[in-house]
């Protein structure tokens, strides 16, 4: 199962402060669906203002990026720049 980590403020808002989960998902879309089942309302928050780091690589606007069995997945704020 992949290690999935939420931002602390998102965890506080939706997951009673729990930040880390073990979840099996094929891709980001499926992962967000599974999180939504567990924490209703989190999908909009994770879909709208979030980037995802999968095994250290940051994806902006992710949806179909695949997640391996032992991947490390971090939800992060969207990264902008100057």
């Amino acid at each position: 199962m992949a290690k999935v980590v939420l931002q602390r403020e998102v965890a506080r808002e939706f997951a009673q402060g729990e930040t880390e989960f073990e979840i099996t998902a094929a891709d980001v879309r499926q992962l967000i669906r599974l999180l939504e089942l567990k924490f209703p309302g989190i999908r909009d928050r994770l879909s709208e203002r979030t980037a995802v780091a999968i095994d250290g690589e940051i994806f902006q606007d992710p949806l179909l990026q695949s997640i391996d069995e032992h991947s490390e997945v971090y939800f992060l704020p969207a990264i902008e720049g100057g």
């Binding site: 602390r8 403020e9 506080r12 780091a53 690589e57 902006q60 606007d61 704020p77 902008e80 100057g82």
Partner: protein
């Protein structure tokens, strides 16, 4: 040592790459147009029948708009249109645009034109368009705005107090549990971290902590914002403008004006500097609506004072840093609490500050908390590595203090705690291949670091980290009849991207770079591409260019296969030519030969790539700064400066060196000179370059650069973004140098002469 002797550049590659074009220094493709004055910037466009627009701006920092009477202005002969917020559609609080960083279009619309309240000195409240500039000025003076002046607040910590003047009655702090029931100027609380800082500090032998303050500073681009909009009877608007993204301007302007994207065509002008400040819009929707009302094209150009009063600076802010370490220098915990001024609407880069402050280090226990706070200043806009310099100033200054307490060399402390491949970053994910440690070692080995110092001189070092980003990018490539190649992308060239695109195309195609012509398309002539920012273009658009070149090569092989009557798999592409591997003797067709016979083999040859680029490699830098202080006047002078950075692979090293030098100078200005001065009514007093002092060439020594090349595995040539990192270390590098020279810790920027004198006096 003279400036010329001192200025040396160096490139340290960890791998031999064997490229023919990448890493060379051809003449820039846009050079002749720019040095001969032929290049057209935003204000250079003029159309037949064009009107001149003027914006009327609030003279108050915070005021309720009771009424706006435009009758006298409208009646003035020569005035063709007047607009106020009543002409703009109301935008839903949930409206979001596609493709760019998430923003509130409701706030954007209210920043473009104030509605119920003016929220800062210079906030636009109305606009006029007239046949001449003189009539437009006269009409602007005739617009009668009735205000109820309200108390204002300019500082984040002041704005956070319960009795502070409230900017938005409907703003409740997000990120708090329980959710607050009364409104506040704190838009959001953010928190990041790994491990457990409490146990980390318990394990520390030494703990340092300090409070730090930085001021809001402007990006300081030379070219003010300018545009021409032409709305025609069919509802189409064409906009010529200088920006960091023609698609951003289209998306934002169309949304604010509530019109279809397809009815706005944005023509990108050359851009005279942006540094993040042109990643949003101010004038374009106003020009569109004025043009629509007048039935004529309308030009709007800001003057310098408008730029300072009404366009995005970056945040000022406060930071409290606390770092603990073992006697051997191993850092056991780091904490950072920061309050950033967002300006009049939410959206400071405090989150990114939280994520980047401890970025260069391998620390098991980190906690960062950030507050996004609205104040009566212009809404902040991105500025190189948004948010990171402020956080880094606090962390890198605290590390300097820690090194002193541990009696340790400051670079040795950084070397001991350096993040490397496999380190869990302070914001969570695990780093892939990075080159931070290499920058520290390059600094240790640089002659600058061991050069002797004179009286009243001090040396400071600091490091910095930036993520770098990819994103949606497009490229098209067309082979001309003579075998030259057009490379068409859709990102304004603010850092030499034309040259880099041409060079990467030439490298992939195997042809001379002089045979490749790069150009930048308007929004009707190219697929979508995210704006130029975040140091993404050479990486992400470069990836698209490489893939478009691959696409062209496939087509060139197919055409050669037709000529030779073989399968395409029998044709290889090497050194700019197709090779028939099935031929008994050497048989090849150059790109030019294939192009010349394109009509016989199927018509025009082109390629394209539309991607959402991932794999941007993080960037790290380490800077060394020598300062001499004048104990009589308090003036600090930079006498030597070296910027060292892991740049992945430098496509055009001269441009990369320029990025490092420019970023360093902007950071030095932030550290020593730059700040907004307001009067007691909250009105800006130094809205010009005479009084808002950016460093000029005569203030600076030549900036020495060292390009450390640790290739990014996410790009075929190893490209990393390079434009953000160089502005991060200078704030602390300068402050640490002044601290070393003066013998007193400088925690409040800018380190102006009176501030330094006061600090020296307080130590006596």
């Amino acid at each position: 040592m003279g400036k010329e002797e001192q200025f040396k550049t160096a490139t340290q590659s960890v791998e031999s790459n064997g490229y023919k074009v990448v890493g060379t220094r051809p003449i820039r493709p846009d050079g002749v147009e720019k040095v001969t004055g032929r290049a057209n910037f935003g204000a250079d466009y003029n159309l037949p029948g064009m009107l001149i627009g003027r914006i009327i701006r609030s003279p108050h920092a915070h005021a309720r708009i009771l009424s706006i009477n435009t009758e006298k202005a409208s009646a003035l002969p020569g005035v063709k249109a007047v607009v106020t917020s009543a002409d703009f559609p109301e935008i839903s609080p949930t409206a979001r645009g596609a493709g760019e960083a998430p923003i509130s279009f409701r706030d954007l619309s209210r920043n473009v034109m104030a509605r119920e309240k003016a929220l800062y000195d210079g906030h636009a409240v109305a606009a006029v368009a007239a046949t001449t500039a003189a009539i437009a000025d006269q009409a602007a003076a005739l617009v009668d705005v009735e205000y109820e002046v309200l108390p204002h607040v300019l500082d984040a910590r002041e704005a956070m107090k319960p009795d502070a003047p409230l900017l938005h009655a409907d703003m409740f702090t997000k990120g708090l549990d329980p959710k607050p029931e009364i409104p506040s100027n704190i838009s959001q609380r953010h928190e990041f971290g790994i491990g457990d800082t409490e146990s980390g500090f318990d394990a520390a032998d030494v703990v340092v902590e300090h409070d730090f303050t930085t001021q809001c500073v402007h990006q300081g681009y030379i070219e003010p914002h300018a545009c021409v909009a032409d709305n025609t009877e069919d509802g189409m608007s064409t906009v010529w403008t200088s920006s960091q993204g023609q698609f951003m301007v289209r998306n934002y302007s169309a949304t604010v004006c509530n019109i279809d994207h397809s009815k706005v065509r944005v023509m990108p002008a050359e851009i005279g500097g942006g540094f993040g400040g042109k990643t949003t819009i101010y004038l374009e929707p106003v020009a569109i609506l004025l043009s629509k009302k007048a039935g004529k094209p309308v030009k709007l150009v800001m003057n310098r004072e408008d730029v300072f009063r009404a366009t995005g600076p970056t945040s000022g802010g406060h930071a409290h840093a606390r770092i603990g370490a073992k006697k051997d220098g191993t850092i056991t915990a780091g904490e950072l609490t920061m309050e950033y001024e967002a300006g009049a609407f939410p959206g400071s880069p405090v989150q990114l500050g939280c994520m980047t402050g401890f970025g260069p280090y391998d620390i098991k226990n980190v906690k960062t908390i950030g507050f996004d706070v609205v104040v009566n200043r212009p809404k902040v806009a991105a500025y190189r590595a948004p948010g990171a310099p402020i956080a880094s100033f606090a962390v890198e200054s605290a590390l300097d203090e820690l090194a002193k307490k541990l009696n340790m060399d400051p670079l040795a402390l950084r070397e001991k705690n350096a993040a490397t491949e496999g380190t869990q970053a302070a914001y969570g994910p695990t780093f892939k291949r990075i080159g931070y440690l290499e920058t520290v070692r390059a600094a240790q080995n640089h002659p600058h670091y061991s050069a002797p110092l004179g009286p009243n001189q001090g040396r400071g070092v600091a490091s910095g980290f930036w993520f770098n980003i990819g994103g949606e990018s497009s490229a098209a490539m067309h082979v001309n009849e003579d075998g030259t190649v057009e490379v068409v992308t859709a990102n304004p060239d603010i850092g030499g991207s034309r040259a880099s695109m041409a060079m990467m195309a030439a490298e992939v195609l195997g042809i001379d770079v002089s045979k490749v012509k790069p150009s930048i398309a308007d929004t009707a002539s190219s697929a979508y591409s995210m704006l130029t920012g975040g140091s993404r273009v050479t990486f992400a658009v470069g990836k698209a260019v490489c893939e478009a070149a691959d696409d062209v090569i496939v087509e060139l092989r197919r055409r050669a296969a037709k000529v030779w009557d073989v399968e395409i798999d029998a044709v290889e592409w090497k050194d700019g030519a197709a090779i028939n591997t099935k031929a008994d003797t050497s048989e090849n067709l150059t790109l030019a030969a294939i192009a010349n016979t394109a009509a016989k083999t199927g018509g025009p040859i082109s390629g394209k790539a539309n991607i959402n680029a991932a794999g941007a490699g993080p960037g790290f830098g380490t800077h060394i700064c020598d300062i001499e202080i004048d104990p009589e006047t308090g003036r600090s002078t930079v006498i030597r400066y070296t910027a060292i950075q892991d740049v992945g692979t430098a496509i055009h090293p001269s441009y990369v060196e320029g990025q490092l030098q420019g970023g360093a100078v902007q950071g030095i200005g932030w550290a020593l000179n730059e700040e907004y001065i307001y009067d007691d009514k909250g009105c800006l007093q130094n809205g010009g370059f005479l009084d808002y002092r950016v460093p000029v060439a005569s203030d600076m020594p030549m900036i020495d650069t060292v390009l450390v090349e640790v290739p990014n595995p996410g790009h075929r040539f190893g490209v990393r973004g390079v434009g953000e990192v160089p502005i991060i270390p200078p704030l602390a590098a300068v402050a640490n140098a002044v601290t070393a020279a003066a013998g007193v810790r400088m925690t409040d920027l800018p380190i102006s002469p009176p501030k330094l004198l006061s600090a020296i006096d307080s130590e006596k």
